[in-house]
Amino acid sequence: MRSFVTQLPARLLVAIMFVAVVYPLVWMFFGSLKTQEEFLNNSAWSLPQEWVWSNYASAWTDGNLATYVRNSVITVFPALAVIVLAGTAAGFALEVMVWKGRNTVLLMFLLGIMVPAQMILLPLFTAYFEIGITGTLWPLFITYCAIGLPLTVFMMATYFRAVPREIFEAAVLDGASIYKAFFLVGFPMVRNAVVTVALVQFFFIWNDLLIALTFTSSDDLRTIQAGLLNFTGEFGQTQYGPLFAAICINVFGTLALYLFLNQKVMKGMAGGAVKG
């Protein structure tokens, strides 16, 4: 009994926080099922009169969400593969292998974490324009690869530092080449770290707006975030139902992924922040 009373303020606090996080999302979900008239005439607290699932269909097709999602998928995942593979290999070369100047190179990557993306946008824009790839998704893909590398290299180097050197030395003594030592010994040993880093980078890139806005000139090239930002404009006046449906697709899609991977995401993002 006593513990219940002393715990009461804490329980109340937890309840308030729970509502503060969950209510906006619930409200948005109900909103995605309302008609335009309900938005304009009924109270914002009211439940939808009828569940208008067609809002989702119209967001997906009329709102072009399908195109935006496709664009995001075909730039983000290949970029992610490049970041993880090149970043892990670089981390291995910088931490496990022994050569002069490796600390300097690591420091250079570290600097890249600090530099704001704004510092590279203009020269890249000019370069992409001159190569003639501005009307494609290539600029996005290339920029994402580069933006993700510094943190990945740095984090992977830190993870490799935690692996006992004797393991690699033993592998080499047994006659493994350096590539075998990397692919068959090093990579599997940091497999968990690779997943973590990939997740952190995925959320960074998937949620990016700055680069997506800079390098996508036409509607057909927009990523999901850039598309969502311009969503209101598509219909002239704000169409609340479809807009809310589009937000819901974006939010609950991410949420599903998060719930699926939850422990890894929390560890990874928190870990990434400390190391960055």
Partner: protein, 294 residues
């Protein structure tokens, strides 16, 4: 062994791809961007050399002053509040809820993974006044007061932005700081308690000093992120009303891509970079001093 682990060719093969992309797409552009700040014009019209004109223009530009003040105000307010709130939550998790904290920890964490644009649009509609009255204004009406146009003044828009960012990030900082707090050895706390230390004394003399490293990381991480804020503000207020909530990043974006003024845009980007560096160094140094004092 030396020969294999020190194989130059292998270093090149493994490090090469990352190095190449990093150099071509980040390092060289940073240098070119530095160069741009001495020029006027853009990729399409061509550039003309203007020397330090852009830098003197920065000095006298009202809009730069406004954006700079906004950026610093936003960064300071948000960094302080989100780290403080996160720290409070972390203390709550570790010392009050203990094992029962796992569910609420997970729940409060997840907003950070949600797309910023989606969250910002949601908050925009949540605080909307017309044509659709959002829940917040409905509540004001129900309480008998006038509905408020939150995005009609720079001041209230600023606080909605802060509120949204706290909603997004407090749980994230809580988890970050939580990992630092659970690392504090139990026997240190136990002996302090036996010596008769009060809760406040415990926090002041044991918990804060021992969680200083992770607190410092959080502050640096937070200040770096907040100074570079772009996505959330663009989607929530788009810098409005007028340009009252436009941070340097947005001003840089507009100068460069709406007005095609690359030279001046690059100068603003440079200002932003210097600002980030200064703040990081400042946090680092003041925290160091604190640790040696304690």
């Amino acid at each position: 062994m030396e020969r294999v682990l020190g194989d130059r060719k292998a270093v090149l093969v493994l490090l090469g791809p990352a190095m190449l992309v990093y150099t071509l797409v980040m390092m060289i552009p940073v240098l070119v961007s530095l160069g741009y700040s001495l020029f006027d014009g853009n990729a399409i019209t061509g550039f003309s050399y203007v020397g330090v004109d852009n830098l003197t223009r920065l000095w006298g530009d009202e809009q730069v002053h406004q954006s700079l003040v906004f950026t610093i105000k936003y960064a300071l307010v948000l960094t302080t509040t989100q780290v403080a709130l996160g720290y409070g939550l972390a203390l709550l998790y570790v010392f009050v809820l203990k094992r029962a904290s796992s569910l609420i920890r997970t729940l409060l964490f997840f907003p950070i993974v949600l797309p910023t644009v989606a969250v910002a649009l949601m908050f925009q509609k949540f605080f909307e006044i017309a044509p659709n009255t959002g829940p917040v204004n409905e509540m004001l009406l129900a309480l008998g007061s006038e509905p408020m146009d939150f995005f009609g003044s720079g001041m209230s828009a600023f606080w909605v932005i802060i509120l949204m960012d706290l909603w997004r990030s407090a749980g994230f900082y809580a988890v970050l700081l939580y990992t630092g707090l659970v690392d504090i050895p139990e026997d240190v706390m136990e002996s302090a308690r036996m010596e008769g230390a009060s809760t406040f004394q415990m926090i002041r003399h044991i918990i804060i000093p021992l969680s200083m490293p992770v607190l410092l990381s959080s502050l640096i991480f937070s200040i770096n992120g907040t100074l570079k804020v772009f996505d959330s503000i663009v989607a929530l207020t788009n810098g409005g009303p007028g340009t009252e909530t436009a941070p340097l990043t947005l001003y840089m974006f507009r100068t460069s891509f709406s007005y095609g003024d690359y030279g001046y845009g690059a100068s603003i980007a440079l200002l932003l970079t210097i600002l980030s560096l200064l703040f990081t160094i400042f946090v680092f140094r003041s925290a160091r001093r604190d640790v040696t004092e304690a």
